[in-house]
Amino acid sequence: MSASPAARIERAYNPFTWSKRTRRNFRLGMLFLSPWLVGFLVFTLYPMVASLIYSFNDFSFHQALRWVGLKNYIALFQDKYFWIALANTAYMVIIGVPLILMFSFSCAALLNIKVPGQSIYRVVYYIPAIVPTIASTLLWIWVLNPQSGLLNTALGYVGIDGPNWLRDPNWSKPALLMLALWGTGNTMIIYLSGLQDVPVHLLEAAELDGANWWQRMRHVTVPMVSPITVYNLIIGMIVMFQYFAQAYVFSRVSSANYAGTSPVGQPLNSTLFYSIYLYQNGFQFLKMGYASAMAWILFLVILACTVLSLRVSERYTYYSG
């Protein structure tokens, strides 16, 4: 009982000191966990190790590995498109994710106002989130059609000459962000459930103290939902780093008049995101070693960003209970 913590941990993990019951439980636990254990080894651990090895090799489909050391990594850092892809993805993460969070929070706040028909509004706001990604992307390509599209027609009514969203490199990323905002229902619902959990007595106390709507929002509601913001931020980042399907489908339309060039990343590489370039290297240029190096860098970047946001948020997050 009086053993030091280190000794206790050592005993807990040393099978020779386990009681019969512990041993039985361990076997039983492993049995129940076995589907995941096998899956982890085959579909996660092995691919992680393999892609690390590939990244130090010249490797293509159906070919033997050829060790090249750090060549892939060095080539990557000298590759113009690698930096373009990284910058495009950084745009989506640094501008896109906070924008999505703010928009989702605002929508959730609107949906939390008691008005007649509230439940109908909730459904309307949420439904776009369950439209399959490819369907919503195709729909938005149509909505953004410069001549007959819904958006430019609506802008025309208020006297704005809408841009050519899909073919103008300055507008392609904002167009994709609009699509992301449209389908943000999930983040919104998570915020809404957080808003419903904000204790009413706190808001009432603030109101009695003379706090106006903005002050209550700023000093009570936002801090109370900060754990949800951290959660949404991290998940939003992880999703955004892997942004693929929408950009892939989007650029196929805008590339229709770029005959001969690669169909992805258009216009003018403005939608060449990290995952798109990785896919292109691995499956179109068949440079799988190169793509594996990219994959490892992506993993490390996501890991670093997650750890960093957890560290930073610890200071600003309020956890009740």
Binding site: F26, I127, P132, V143
Partner: protein, 368 residues
Amino acid sequence: MENSISSTPASRITAERRGRRLHRVKKIILDLLKHCLIIGVGLFFALPLLWMVATSFKADRDVFHIPLRLLPYVNTLVNVNGQQLPLYDVTIDNQTRQLALLKLEASNGDFVDPRDPTQTFPNVRMKFAEPIMRVGFRWQNYVDAMNYNPRSGLGVTIWTYLRNSLVICLFGIIGTVASCAVVAYGFARISFPGRDLLFILVMGTIMLPFQAVMIPQYVFFNDFLHWGNTLLPLIVPTFFANAYDIFLLRQFYRTIPEELCDAARIDGASEFDIFARVVLPLSRPALAVVAITTFLFHWNDFQAPLIYLTSPQNFTMALGLADFQGQRQILWNMLMAASVVFTVPIIIGFFFAQKQFIQGIKLTGIKE
């Protein structure tokens, strides 16, 4: 209150009333603003979807109509000698009449006067004829879209894509529910050394991007198992559990009272009996959530099918639609009809199981 009013001068009373009225007016304006904002943002969410449905019912020439019309229009039909014929505004010799189209040949058409069927106008250039449209839904778009065959000679239609998607979803649900239910029980109810460390590892895999494991997985399935261009690489991994659903079910299992299991244990039930006979039946709501999120995930999935499935016979709905759009000429009305077909099952599902959808998001809203 009564007292205080009677004891104050008359001017105070009117001022107070005016103040109260001002307050009420302010409140009404504020309410109005709130409503406008809620409806305005609502339009942003609703209009594109409505437009998708409207476009799916439009005739080809109505799709690019300027100015834009939200409602679909179809050619007005008129009954001539028991036949339904489309009605046109035809200009002949600077005179416009309403005539019905009898027969169309290249760029010329034979017209007939619906009021006097004996009077015919053969060989009129179609550029002098303008169809008379009315609001109507062109259901034929759906028939055409479902049977559209973008890659001639393969006999592949949207039905093929639908079947493939449903096969993947069905086996995906079976695999995910079965494996995650078992694994989550191990994490929730059996205490053994190393369990918590392993659980941290499970949650850590959420951070792992698909792209990081995509290439070795592809090589493994293609070169080692020779499963390239089959649905197997998309189905088989689901039988080995995933972090989101393990987490969701583990959280749910932990809310089931331990006493129930202890009672069964005293009766001599094995751990597996307790899992199958006590915990599983109580977990139906959570399993439904897992089934729904799994369906959504596989219905939506794009990148994995994109790398594994190479021939159109094996395409999923998502791949097939992207392929549809990849053709030179985009037929927006048909593409939107196909998109509606792709979307409607989910929306119907949502209205039947709203609670499970919402729970699924709150717990694993991340699975995109």
